[in-house]
Symmetry: D3
Subunit: 163 residues, 6 copies
């Protein structure tokens, strides 16, 4: 890995680092997030009367749209042409949580990790918003990169899933 | 607390719930997030050559701006007139993390919890983006509401900080 | 009705008309749109394997979010605090179409008609986007105001549904 | 044409379909919309004192800008680099309407049909907004794709203009 | 005037200052900008074949829309409900420039000066964009507040127009 | 230089000019702006207690983010993939001003001059916003292109710095 923060210049000032000379390659990143809630809340979403309700769909769509808004939110993030976004939400009744996974792809000069992380985060925040009237104490945890492919630094995979 | 998801109608379809009859009150919410990183990464930000660098400032500003973008990101979230946002980042060398706290205020008909959570999340994501060249494995944890005031449901404070 | 275009000044130049002296009242508007498609396309959405699929939910959510983006899209439109949005999609197999209805509410100094019309339009455009791989010839028709309440001009209701 | 909805996965969940392997080709799409109004309203715009007024220009500019905002509005729509937008408004006194035509071009991996449709729709909605003080009953009709070129599916042209 | 920068806290960190206790008053601000260009460029806009062209209208509309986008652009700027925007462009052949004036109004808890300045700036930048193919050397000068009314600090008027 | 305004068609109507046939080349532009203020204001930012404060960082970050928002603000501006942005602020106590320089790069079919100008303008407006509580009379001057490289028209450099 690099030993310096690329988004700072020699004076420590923020800049959008120059990627103009990097190769156009196929890039992909997967990030995850977990949102913990009361068992009753989870039940309302997955087993109860709202089984076919829009809670999961709303979070999924919000996550996909947020990937596209990433350069508007993250100051030094380069704009890029997203070619694919997939957001999956998997309820886990045993741990009383929903696991969120977001995979983004692009063909470009810069990585797509931050888009995947933003997508997973906003999907989780949307679940919070949809359920906050019944469960204000929900906690979003373990927002992290799982894997990335492409670019100069190549393939990277998280070693310790408990990290 | 309510026993139903207000953002769904009787058919389980997403809607932006009607707040037109709610009182205009002073509202406030504080949310937190924690981002864990390698000790060397933390050191680069707080002790090293980039002491006066823009890393913390960039995250702080991104968090403040994200609070204003919340209704663009969270589908059922009402627009509201934010009257104050304050984002604090506190490095914790012992736990090798940065603690983020975001406090938002408004005078309006709907709560400001989701704005505070979005602000803390985006500040954390920005730290990730600023440092990802040196530490791709950073994890954002414990994104949660700490306290909220105002509105019909009144004062709420998280009981179990470890939740 | 007025006999002049309020968004033009005396020289015919566009301006955002001054509403600062208008009363804050509860306002509401309902707009509709209809999207015609091949019978097979409609069947895929409502009866087929994608019965519980996200097509309708995606259009509904896009319509709700678009209501919030209206002042970014319509140049002379005032920003306002939307207090409620509801988008309904009703498949009509006989006419081989989906009927879309969008109702928006606010408490403010200016009407919310254009938000309702934008919401219905974007929901229809989203249905187009979701189905375009199978039916490029879909037509969006009858985007119009159905009813509005509140404000100085009071209650208005469309007389001729075939207009 | 395809026989499935590409923006849904096998479970019927919304996704932004992967276009990363599609060829970069020159693409073009033309969409139209028609807005019907009272003869007096049309006259105010085209013949009256506001002949040189900004009504048509405002709609034209709004349509062009909306094409660029399409991926922010339409959830599963890919971002793309628009290389050209042209919006034309043609008053038709006989039918008491304004015909709107929007042509968008890009060089990329995905079609530009939805951008052209969004552009024509927003131009029409802007005409509504500019004239609503004198004519609340205006109707937007026949929002549809006229022609598209480029991409794997090649040239497509609407057969039945009355469709 | 205050003797400290309100958008910084005691540690010098950026914050969105709390305006929640300020009174809701009618506020107004006028800002100006001047763009200097080659005499031939000015002539093309005002006297030549493009007399009725969209150059001025495009700049006017861009200025009005930019006023609404101000909180998205200026990090510590509070969102507010703009009630009126008026942008005027006056060609001055003697000085070979276009004078731009933007007046914004609101009823709220915070001033609208920065919206007026942003509006005038973006109108000027749009003139640059419209004319850059013929005159790359245009200069935008004298972007400044002319007058503001309302709020705790009351009426303020620029003393020295040459400042 | 061209002898016509490319963003107008033969009827004088605004359009986004077609760049689809232009070559993809490396492009770069540098723009500057100067903001004049009271000596005491400048001192507060650079020498006083806020030496390490966020004023300069906030302006720098706002300028970088604004470059990415340019196509949302400037109606006929093409979207493009920015590959680098650098904003520098240099206090000049003798002239009692801050000099702002913004350099943007892209690889694409259209120039990046307007992005650099927008970036410098928004950085200057942000300085105004951060300091307006102590100095309402600040003036932004000399917003202009300094140099551009790449594209069909090649290298251009401002001759007269006093222009």
């Amino acid at each position: 890995m690099a030993n310096e923060l690329t988004h700072l210049d020699e004076k420590g000032q923020a800049r959008m680092v120059d990627v103009g000379d990097k190769a156009h390659t196929q890039r992909e990143a997967t990030a995850t997030a977990t949102i913990f809630m009361q068992p009753e809340t989870l039940q309302m979403i997955v087993e109860g009367k709202h089984k076919k309700g829009d809670v999961m769909a709303t979070a999924r769509i919000a996550g996909i749209m947020a990937a596209k808004r990433t350069p508007d939110l993250i100051p030094m993030c380069h704009p890029l042409m997203i070619t694919s976004v997939k957001v999956e939400l998997t309820p886990d009744p045993e741990r009383s949580c929903v696991e969120i996974s977001a995979t983004c792809k692009t063909v470009g000069q810069t990585g797509i990790e931050i888009e995947a992380l933003t997508s997973a985060s906003v999907a989780a925040l949307t679940l919070y918003d949809m359920c906050k009237a019944v469960d204000r104490g929900m906690v979003i945890d373990q927002v992290k990169l799982l894997e990335k492919k492409g670019g100069k630094s190549g393939h990277w995979q998280r070693q310790d899933e408990q990290a």
